[in-house]
């Protein structure tokens, strides 16, 4: 009976994390949509979602801590709870990036809507897809799917570097567009970080399922 209760607790922890993930995905989706539409209402919604995300982060951490203390989990259960704690932190930071993007979009609203040499929607779409895939891997306990997320990060990094190059050039050539270019640069950087957090989540799924720590492997090879 005790193990049945413990399994229920693990299932509840997973459900809570998925609710948290839903809030975060919605926030990032609204933030990036606000960039394309300049819809300040969406920006407000993103900012107002932050307290709920923060509250859920604390609740999930506490629930995970309780299970560690009360059940002394081992092996795959221990790895699962550790993965949940890490993924929880990454999701909260994705939420922070959504708020940051919404803030930049609001600031851009004060300036003329100009054409910028950067494809933010494409970058946003790729970063959001990474988050979605990483979470899907978590839901299904699919380490292969998680592995595929890691490969996408290079694309996001390259798009961010390209944004930096083109927007730096724009600032030097058209200084009057500096405010818009700087805000777009920060948004690009935020999306690149969203990709990093998705990578972390995917690595945590691999750790949970396979017991393998694949963090920083790329950096070490370089």
């Amino acid at each position: 009976m005790i193990r049945i209760q413990f399994q229920q607790n693990l299932d509840e922890l997973k459900e809570r994390l998925l609710i948290m993930a839903g809030l975060v995905e919605q926030a990032i989706q609204r933030a990036t949509e606000s960039y394309s539409t300049r819809d300040m209402g969406l920006c407000d919604l993103v900012r107002r979602s932050e307290p709920a995300i923060n509250r859920m982060e604390r609740e999930i951490d506490q629930a995970a801590l309780d299970l560690l203390a009360m059940q002394q989990p081992m092996a795959v259960d221990l790895r699962f709870i550790i993965a949940v704690i890490r993924i929880n932190a990454d999701l909260e930071r994705v939420g922070d990036q959504a708020v940051s993007i919404a803030g930049r979009v609001q600031e851009m609203g004060a300036f003329a809507n100009v054409e910028l040499p950067v494809d933010i929607p494409k970058l946003a779409s790729l970063a959001a897809a990474m988050v979605r895939k990483a979470l899907q891997a978590f839901i299904e306990g699919d380490a292969d799917l998680a592995q595929s997320v890691l490969l996408l990060d290079d694309q996001v990094d390259e798009m961010n570097r390209e944004a930096f190059r083109s927007l730096s050039l724009l600032i030097s050539e058209k200084p009057e567009m500096t405010p818009q270019a700087l805000n777009a640069l920060i948004i690009s950087r935020s999306l690149e970080r969203v990709g990093d957090h998705a990578t972390n989540i995917a690595e945590d799924v691999i750790f949970w399922v396979r017991g393998a720590d694949v963090r920083h492997k790329g950096a070490e090879l370089q």
């Binding site: 005790i2 413990f6 989990p73 081992m74 092996a75 017991g211």
Partner: protein, 252 residues
Amino acid sequence: MGVDIRVENLNAWYGNTHTLQDINLHIPSNQATALIGPSGCGKSTFVRCLNRMHETNPIARAEGTVMMGDVDIYKDASPVEIRRRIGMVFQRPNPFPTMSIYDNVASGLKLNGFRNKRMLDEVVERSLKSAALWDEVKDDLRKKSGASISGGQQQRLCIARALAVDPEVLLMDEPASALDPVSTAKIEDLIFNLKTQYTIVIVTHNMQQAARVAANTGFFLNGKLIEFDATTKIFTNPSDKRTEDYITGRFG
């Protein structure tokens, strides 16, 4: 100093029941090694084979090689000699109830014909200190009987008794399962300290205890050694699904 134990193709039977099947295992010296597994899996039989206690049961027998250092314990030494070199502590403290604390510790030496009182005094003191019991009993060594002290103290007295004959290996069969958490912590601290001098093998049902005290852990199931590895590996990422199912409480 402790010695390593190398077990090769060890098989054991109780009557017609094949209780241990082809066990191969290297227990490193001067470390604590934990053996885990569900009741009846063979882990206690295994430790009883290590000091030839298994064969004291008339219907029991064992085959295979157990090397303690360079000594083949089934060929090169008598059971009495082996049991002096390999001490054992059981689940329930079993001090000699009518003997004083002093005589409990000295009993093994006296049995071996040791009579020098000054040296006996030294060994008793050293053994009780090694078992972290000296400070609690030094004023009552001859006044109190082995059965008059608390359960946790009795278990440490049994450890002192085992240490008095200067063994190289200490086998512990669930040494803390009948003790309260404070006494359990003292036994675990003791294991931590004693492993510098002795090779320790501990059978336990308590996963957390195995995780706390042992460098390596072996998992037994149905008379077979399923997995043997570093304790950190066993408890975070075991290689065998059966080990994982057992330590996560999914069976057993």
